[in-house]
Amino acid sequence: MAEKNDAGKGGVISTRSMEVAVGLLIALLGLIAVTDSHRVGAAWAEDGPQSGYFPNIIGWILIACGAWVVFQQLRRWRQDANKVFVTLHDFKPVLTMLLPTIGYVILIGFIGIYVASAIFIAGFMLFQGKYRWLPTLLVSVGVPLAMFVLFEIWFLVPLPKGPLESLLGY
């Protein structure tokens, strides 16, 4: 997917390879829909259309769209040689957002959303924003605390909690 190309400075992901990859994924999704529709029955039963009738049509349209996107891109393969989806230089900040977010979501399952949020915000401010510990502490503790008051106390909407909250009696 991430085809290397010498067109830009450092590495780049080219638009054409990304287009083809997404086109193939769309066709794959269509294939999944069609396969499953045939499993549950995509034909016409005595009491009307079966469960897979509608998804089957959708699936075939998806396959056609995906194939068309890939076909169009392959036809323009040379013309689009210099189109850049993203350079690795620009993609690094995206990863510094995406990877901590994934970590944050995993963390929620173990220690609850409030503590995980505090760690996530603090980490981001310290490493990405290069803040000192005092403003970091204020924001990273203040925001989850405000959320806690808003959700658990005012609106009585329970959010995932972990060991710290149960220690405090919630």
Partner: protein
């Protein structure tokens, strides 16, 4: 007239002190959402939806719709002062709004933007007031083929009128339909496309998709662009407001044209964003001082803002009367109505008069309150944008995660939100439109049911969609709009001009 009486009664409902308070809170939250990157009308309302479950439905929907008005107003602030469109529909506002701010005319630009927004919205609300009861009465006679025809028209207009490549629009829409089919089939109870994964039994909720696609996706894009917010100071003093107001009537023609474009694009779901671009383009074409556009021309702020608000507001007309939303935000509001047990559609106007007219009255009041609020609080919002992105970004991710979790109290939804965020980032970059995706996910079950019932009635014969003049003309119109890009491409080719590629 009976409807006027109903509207007056609606004002009485909307004017209770509690509802006015909710209105004010809604507007303030809405402007905040509009100003912050990564939070917009659609996902902002999706996140706040669970908080309104404990309120009475009328108050809740008043507050939520006011968040929408606020978000529409808020988008203009960032466009003009920071050259950063807080919302996609305010991109066209940056063309002339930011140059005006650079020349020290920020106050004028903001006043013009807010006032035009108000005018556009007001025009659309008047339209809703008079047209909605008629459409609702008409739609009472609709059967499944008519409903499917209307939905077909809705989706065909995305393909025919969108600015994205048609194949990508269709692909994005079909992914929405496919995801909507996952889970238990509502007609037969069969499990579809779950592949034995228990978490998929409930299917995909569009609220999660909205939060991921528009919220996280936007944050990822902003990270890539590495924005630093450097903006002009905005303060509006009353003298400038009055001076600008005195100047604005001069642009009545542009304003009226933009209102009509906006309402048209809002009702047929072209949406606020194309409406604003189209209106800007038309204003430039008809202007006497064409060369001044893009250089800080006040008319270039009036046109897109009027159209965007007219479209944003009139998108609620098909949502209320037919149960078919014209924009992702209208879809989220529809989701809210369903959760409160209110089924949008023609019957709503018969059975829940209080609610419908209370909502319409609150649209009038909400926009007046909104105009006053934004005119007086601009400097404050501008200072929020000076908070560095390194603080704002993680806080918004946290808010999105909480919002995704509270929809069903389900951790799997939070995981899906991140997946949708990545999809949103990639799709945005490859020019796959996101609105058809969301609307297909919302309407998927409804469209499928209408289609299957129609097929049942006709015994599998597609001729049912041409069985009477009404359904026949809607379907034919839909097909014409659907094939529009193909026809214009063929015409271009016949003329030997440049051919617009499909992908």
């Amino acid at each position: 007239m009976e409807d006027i009486g109903n509207l007056m009664h609606g004002f009485a409902v909307a004017l209770s002190w509690k509802n006015v308070l909710f209105m004010l809170v809604g507007i303030l939250l809405g402007v905040l959402i509009g100003v912050l990157p990564g939070l917009g009308g659609a996902n902002g309302i999706a996140i706040l939806l669970p908080l309104t479950f404990s309120m009475p439905p009328t108050s809740a929907i008043i507050m939520l719709s006011c968040i929408y008005w606020g978000a529409l107003f808020g988008g203009a602030i960032t466009s003009i002062l920071f050259n950063i469109p807080g919302e996609p529909w305010s991109v066209a506002t940056t063309f002339d709004g930011y140059p005006m701010a650079q020349k020290g005319r920020a106050g004028e630009a903001l006043t013009a933007a807010f006032t035009s927004s108000f005018v556009g919205a007001f025009f659309a609300i008047v339209l809703i007031t008079f047209l909605a009861p008629l459409v609702a009465k008409f739609a009472l006679q609709f059967g499944p083929p008519e409903y499917f025809a209307i939905q077909f028209l809705t989706f065909a207009s995305f393909v025919g009128m969108g600015r994205e490549p048609p194949v990508k629009t269709i692909a994005s829409m079909m992914i929405g339909f496919a995801l909507a089919a996952v889970g238990i089939d509502t007609v037969t109870g069969t499990l579809r496309m779950t592949y034995g994964i228990p978490a998929l039994l409930q299917g995909f909720d569009f609220l999660i998709a909205v939060i991921g696609l528009f919220g996280l996706g936007e944050i990822f894009l902003t990270m890539e662009e590495g924005l630093s917010f450097k903006g002009k100071h905005g303060r509006i003093d009353p003298k400038i407001v009055l001076k600008t107001w005195a100047e604005l009537p001069r642009y009545w023609a542009t304003s009226l044209r933009s209102c009509i474009i906006g309402c048209w694009m809002g009702i047929t779901p072209g949406g606020a964003t194309p409406a604003s671009f189209m209106s800007y383009g038309m204003a430039r074409r008809f202007a006497k001082r064409k060369e001044k556009f893009g250089d800080g021309e006040i008319e270039g702020v009036v046109a897109p803002e009027t159209a965007a608000h007219a479209a944003g507001t009139s998108a609620l007309l098909p949502m209320l009367t037919l149960g078919i939303p014209g924009s992702p935000t209208a879809a989220v509001l529809l989701g809210g109505l369903l959760i409160w047990g209110l089924q949008p559609g023609p019957l709503l106007f018969v059975e829940k008069k209080d609610f419908v007219w209370g909502l319409i009255a609150s649209m009038y009041l909400g926009n007046i309150v909104g105009l006053i609020v934004v005119l007086t609080t601009v400097p404050w919002w501008a200072s929020i944008l000076r908070i560095p992105f390194a603080i704002i970004a993680p806080v918004i991710v946290v808010i999105c995660a909480i919002g995704a979790y509270t929809v069903h109290n389900n951790m799997f939804d939070v995981v899906m939100m991140v997946v949708f965020g990545v999809v949103g980032y990639v799709f945005k970059k490859l020019k796959y439109p996101l609105a058809p995706f969301v609307l297909a996910l919302v309407l998927g079950d409804m469209a499928e049911t209408a289609f299957r019932q129609s097929m049942l009635v006709s015994g599998g014969n597609l001729g049912v969609f041409w069985s009477n003049w009404l359904v026949g003309s809607i379907v034919t119109l839909g097909i014409v709009i659907l094939l529009w890009p193909v026809m214009s491409a063929l015409r271009e080719r016949a003329r030997g001009g440049p051919v617009a590629g499909g992908a």
